[in-house]
């Protein structure tokens, strides 16, 4: 059933394809996380401190993104962008979709963390004469980060998982490379298993890292 000998042979033949696929997967995930986190932080700030209209608009954005399957975001980004005259490669369109997805997640995480900080903190900071900017940077942000970081690391694992969806629009990441390899050698069981194992190792690594971060960021005497 599981043909180890031919699998190892085929794996050796396909080693570069696998490595490039893995590299592409990592690149997609990393870019999506970086852009998504920058936008997501702004989204979180807007949701917490924004005026009425800004909050409403940003809330509509996050609700819309969170109610839409990532695959639909990916396909829409791929087809729609070229229609409106923005020519993106499948890679760029995919990263854009994942970054949008990531931003709505990070936005919620940031908002949740900022709103969890007791009101008294802001008042105490005002009382000693700090400006909003100073209060945010030196009082609120450090506290929020402790709550944000562990969840944010989990979002990274979500991005790695979501990166597989780019195979549908023809981005040669790990899953599409795997499918191509299988179409040559028909070892579907072996190579899907192998791809699954690679994804598991990456995501489990991220999960363990997340738990480590959680322990490190825990404030002594709290929780």
């Amino acid at each position: 059933m599981f043909d180890l000998q031919s699998f190892l042979n085929e794996l050796w033949i396909a080693r570069w394809a696998v490595l490039f696929g893995l590299g592409t997967t990592v690149a997609i995930s990393a870019l999506a996380i970086v852009f998504g986190s920058i936008v997501g932080t702004l989204v979180g700030l807007a949701l917490t401190y924004g005026g009425r209209f800004l909050r409403l608009a940003v809330r509509a954005y996050t609700d819309f993104v969170r109610g839409t399957p990532v695959l639909v975001l990916v396909l829409a980004s791929y087809y729609v962008m070229s229609t409106v005259g923005i020519n993106l490669t499948p890679f760029q369109a995919g990263v854009l979709a994942l970054a949008v997805f990531c931003s709505s997640h990070v936005g919620e995480i940031v908002r949740g963390a900022l709103q969890a900080i007791p009101k008294g903190q802001m008042e105490a900071a005002k009382a000693i004469g700090l400006t909003f900017r100073q209060t945010f940077l030196w009082v609120l942000l450090p506290q929020a980060l402790r709550q944000i970081l562990p969840t944010w690391v989990n979002t990274a694992a979500e991005m790695v998982k979501a990166s597989t969806l780019l195979s549908v629009i023809g981005v040669s990441e790990l899953l599409l490379r795997t499918q191509e390899i299988i179409s040559r050698n028909f070892l579907s069981l072996e190579f899907y298993f192998f791809a699954g194992a690679l994804y598991f190792v990456i995501n489990f690594g991220i999960e363990l890292f997340g738990k480590y971060v959680e322990r490190k960021t825990a404030v002594a005497g709290q929780g």
Binding site: R66, T68, L71, L75, V84, V168, F193, Y199, F204
Partner: protein, 220 residues
């Protein structure tokens, strides 16, 4: 830009989209029902003191949660036949989503079980109920109430995951949308309508579960 919105073509295909949505919902409901039963069993296994129960359960949950669902979908449909397990597209996808749902719901239920005070089990034992009776009459009803909010978000995310069935050509909403997109070239309109259908359905699921939560809330 030279692109003017024209929804005519999409309206004409609306029935197709709605059929797709119905199939999406059906896939989600069946998978979730299977996943809920298995996930509940798995949650009790996770909480069990017997290592031969809690270890395998933890391994299952950890593996499934760390795999991209698309890999599982393709694996079940393309690789399992190599092991002599050949399922149709729909059966294969429902089974995969159920496998996924089981792992996520097990986590949700496990967290819910942890909120039930031990004293309630003891009170049940003290009047002579067996552990099975206590689970059915006390623990599960309370746990389901406690977990409704996270159950709601899990259900919504599983519903969204049905879009992956498009990857193995199951004619659900995403598949139909892509088809209409390619056939009519009304790209923007198609995806706006498809996303709105998803967003609206998610909102309805969330609203229904919130209503259920209010209905089941224990007066105090």
């Amino acid at each position: 830009m030279g692109y003017t919105l024209n929804f005519d073509a999409v309206w004409r295909s609306l029935e197709l989209l709605l059929q797709g949505l119905a199939l999406s919902l059906a896939l989600a409901v069946v998978a979730i029902l299977i996943g809920a039963v298995l996930g509940l069993a798995l949650a009790f296994a996770l909480k069990s003191k017997a290592w031969w129960l809690n270890r395998p359960a933890l391994v299952y949950v950890t593996i499934v949660r760390n795999l991209p669902i698309l890999v599982l979908v393709l694996f079940s449909y393309f690789a399992l036949p190599q092991m002599g397990i050949a399922l149709g597209k729909i059966e294969s996808f429902v089974a995969t989503l159920a496998v996924y749902a089981t792992a996520y719901l097990a986590e949700v239920f496990r967290a819910g079980l942890q909120t039930i005070p031990r004293g309630l089990t003891e009170a049940g034992l003290a009047i002579g109920l067996t552990r099975g009776q206590i689970r059915r009459s006390i623990i599960i009803p309370l746990m389901l109430r406690n977990t409704l909010p996270s159950l709601s978000s899990t259900l919504i995310s599983l519903f969204k995951d049905t879009s992956l069935a498009a990857a193995i050509s199951v004619p659900e909403l995403t598949f139909e949308a892509r088809k209409i997109n390619v056939e009519t070239f009304r790209v923007i309109e198609t995806w706006i309508v498809a996303s709105l259908l998803y967003v609206a359905t998610c909102s309805v699921i969330a609203a229904l579960l919130r209503a259920l939560e209010r209905r089941l809330a224990i007066p105090r």
